[in-house]
């Protein structure tokens, strides 16, 4: 059971925040554009300077080498980024073909050129790229923003499986009330830099 815990957590424009996401739990955060949802996720992944404490399973972020922390607390950014031409070059640890199939992607997609993939394909591939690290906590920044309804459901199902099987803590930023209703056990609204607990789903 990996629990992600924030204590007196402060970053630019956001905080102080107290939050605990249990292992196997999915917590959704919504909030107006510019309310700092992305900044919060970035700070938890230790990509931005922050004060207070973030810990995973009782191990605080500051006591772990940054690459190790980021592999166990994986941030999946809203816009996927690629640095090599071929999709497969970005998967150091290979890719589980079952997952590809679950997201309606062919096995051959590893040989695709990144430049020829659609935004939606890239978004799904980027999600799998992070999942292949086997993170204990997931920070998802609108992971289905550029997907149609069918693929959105597939992504939700895959993430649901992953969360249950690995007992992963999931922090999910979403704008879609329907989606939040489907995936979240608890939901918060980020307003004026504070988290307010929304109605239980």
């Amino acid at each position: 059971m990996a629990a992600l815990r924030l204590r007196q957590f402060v970053t630019r424009h956001v905080g102080p925040i107290e939050l605990a996401v249990a292992g196997g739990e999915c917590v959704c955060i919504e909030g107006a554009s510019g309310s700092g949802k992305t900044l919060l996720l970035r700070a938890i992944a230790d990509l931005d300077p922050c004060r207070g404490e973030a810990s995973l399973d009782g191990t605080s972020c500051a006591s772990v080498p940054p690459p190790l922390w980021r592999r166990s607390v994986a941030l999946v950014a809203a816009e996927s980024q690629w640095w090599s031409e071929r999709v497969g070059d970005h998967f150091e640890h290979g890719l589980d073909p079952v997952w590809l199939e679950q997201l309606a992607l062919p096995v051959a997609s590893l040989d695709w050129e990144v430049g020829r993939c659609s935004t939606g394909e890239r978004q799904r591939l980027a999600l799998l790229r992070s999942l292949m690290l086997g993170p204990a906590a997931l920070l998802l920044d609108e992971p289905t923003a550029s997907l149609d309804q069918d693929t959105t459901r597939r992504v939700e199902a895959l993430l649901d499986d992953y969360r249950r099987q690995r007992q992963a803590a999931v922090l999910w930023v979403s704008h879609d009330a329907g989606q939040i209703g489907r995936v979240a056990q608890r939901r918060f609204i980020l307003r004026d830099g504070r988290l307010e607990e929304g109605g239980s789903a």
Binding site: P49, P67, Q81
Partner: protein, 267 residues
């Protein structure tokens, strides 16, 4: 063969070229006559002054004086590297980065050449030390400023890619490796091109000067080859040092990309 000594009149004749060019610029409304004349005047005064300084230095060949001169040259070159950056590191890093890299590379290469290759007596003999250092420094300065400029621009443009790589658990060294490689390459291209074209397309300035001053061509060529290699070594190692230091400085102790450590001059 004896060098033909130039009289002031000879230089004045050459200066007429500049004046004529300034006249043409005025006539064609190019608007560069002011800059042209002032920079011609500057170079005359600066070169005359350095001639005097070198004359004094040659007559008083003390290690301390040579070291002082070398220190001033490195300081000025370090400032020049900083001034040429579109994005500068905040604080002392802006100046220190280039200066340190040039100190490490140019200085070492010059001293190595003086002691091991030329073997002048004393090894710091200013007739050899200062011109050699000057030439290596000038080229290293170019390489470093090109490379640093490319590195910081890349970091800014590829910020999201670099941060994605960090988020995937890559160490910062690996996350910025593409930009670092590109920056070092850019810094080394000028000297590689210069070596490839030397003698065919261009007669390098140093060699030309020596030949004009009466040195037999083959001797001048040997010195030119030596200088080319020294320049390539100095530029290459200096660029690697500067880019590596800068690439490290772009990240903090938690390996976060810190673009806020750069600023645009004037902002």
């Amino acid at each position: 063969m004896k060098a033909i000594v130039l009289a002031p009149v000879d230089l004045a004749l050459a200066a007429l070229l500049i004046v004529a060019l300034a006249g043409l610029s005025r006539r064609m409304r190019l608007g560069i006559e002011g800059q042209l004349l002032s920079s011609a005047a500057r170079s005359t005064i600066q070169l005359l002054l350095i001639g005097l300084v070198l004359k004094v230095l040659f007559d008083n060949a003390h290690l301390a004086w040579v070291a002082l001169m070398a220190g001033v040259m490195i300081g000025v070159a370090g400032r020049e590297v900083m001034v040429r950056q579109k994005l500068r590191f905040l604080g002392w890093w802006g100046f220190g980065l280039g200066s340190l890299a040039m100190f490490v590379s140019s200085f070492t290469v010059t001293v190595l050449a003086l002691v091991l290759v030329i073997g002048s007596h004393p090894w710091y003999a200013p007739q050899y030390a200062i011109p050699l250092l000057g030439m290596i420094l000038g080229n290293t300065m170019n390489g470093i400023s090109l490379a640093l400029d490319r590195l910081t621009q890349e970091a800014l443009q590829k910020r999201q890619i670099i941060e994605t790589r960090l988020a995937l658990g890559q160490p910062c060294r690996q996350a910025i490796s593409d930009s670092r490689r590109e920056a070092i390459r850019v810094g080394l291209i000028p000297i590689i091109n210069a070596m490839a074209a030397a003698g065919i397309v261009s007669l390098p300035g140093m060699m030309t000067g020596q030949i004009l001053a009466g040195t037999p061509p083959v001797e001048a060529v040997k010195y030119q080859i030596l200088v080319m290699f020294l320049i390539a070594g100095g530029t290459g190692f200096g660029t690697v040092v500067a880019v590596s230091l800068a690439a490290r400085r772009l990240f903090d102790e938690r390996q976060r990309l810190r673009i806020d450590r750069l600023r645009q001059p004037g902002s």
